[in-house]
């Protein structure tokens, strides 16, 4: 195994920000750092879509390529992590990342004054002893070592955000799409008012009854 990935189902995301809150709470993240955020496209327009974004744990991570101190590493499970003791806060990873995942405690400060970079760890901690106090303080909770998945995905109320082995979560997503169909079926219109055939049948029944009473 395994390539740990996140997958966000935009048909299901309701922009509740539960994933963001879960992440803040589980990893004791200070204000000013957003390891995860919910982005809404066409906000307020019918058909708007929201997507929960964090580090995507890229297969070919640009942050790893640009880091001048080589503080990034990829675990056997495909999670991109970094050693905060090596980070010099240069911000190159922030500019390289297409998702804006790397965060800095001092915000947009001068070179090297941004502080140690912080990002989503897939709830896998960092290069400290698994479950230790040092790991919790520097990187947040190591849920993977407890046999659990990232809390953002596990507590997503609509299960829009999936986390786990890429093959497993794509199977879940595929099965879901096969069940729900597309268009009106995807967002429940047909569930509430019936599919077209059912509506047609009901109309025919009504007409037959009406003709019978005449």
């Amino acid at each position: 195994m395994a390539r740990m990935k996140f997958l966000c189902d935009t048909e299901r995301c309701i922009e509740c920000n539960g994933c963001v809150t879960a992440c803040f709470n589980e990893n004791d993240i200070p204000w000013g750092i957003s390891r995860r955020r919910v982005v809404t496209i066409n906000d307020g327009v019918p058909g708007e879509r929201s997507v929960s974004v964090a580090c995507m744990h890229c297969s070919d991570a640009p942050c790893m390529a640009v880091c001048p101190t080589d503080c990034f590493y990829k675990t056997e499970e495909g999670v991109v992590l970094h050693d905060k003791d090596m980070c010099i806060g240069c911000g190159y990873c922030f500019f390289a990342c297409p998702f804006g995942a790397p965060q800095f405690p001092n915000g947009p400060s001068a070179f090297a004054a941004r502080g140690k970079m912080d990002k989503c760890t897939f709830c896998a901690g960092g290069p400290e002893e698994n479950g230790s106090k040092a790991e919790q303080e520097k990187y947040g909770r190591n849920r993977l070592a407890e046999g659990k998945l990232p809390l953002c995905a596990e507590m997503c109320s609509t299960k829009a955000l999936l986390a786990g082995d890429a093959a497993v979560i794509s199977d879940i997503f595929r099965e879901r799409v096969m069940h729900r169909g597309k268009g009106g079926d995807a967002w429940g219109w047909s569930t509430a008012y019936g599919k077209q055939e059912q509506t047609r049948e009901r109309t025919q029944e009504r007409e037959q009854k009406r003709e019978g009473t005449k």
Binding site: M64, P127, E128, D165
Partner: protein, 74 residues
């Protein structure tokens, strides 16, 4: 004399024109650096799983399947 000058001029023009043929590729090929930080333990190497990778994998897989409500409800 005139022939020599013409020959020299043509040679100079050819040398300038063909200079571009020796151009080296200028696209940078990024190479991933070698990690230089502290080594990390794998997630199954802790108190919970005691180094049993298979147990950890099955625990995580079970957990992943809990995200599939079609399996949870049926």
């Amino acid at each position: 004399m005139k022939t020599r000058l013409t020959f020299a001029a043509i040679s100079a023009v050819l040398a300038v024109a063909l200079a571009g043929c020796g151009e080296r590729p200028q696209v940078v090929e990024y190479k991933q650096g070698t990690y230089s930080g502290k080594p990390d333990n794998p997630p199954w190497d802790g108190a919970r799983f005691g180094g049993n990778k298979q147990a950890w994998e099955s625990a995580v897989n079970n957990r992943a399947q809990a995200q599939n409500e079609y399996k949870r409800t049926n």
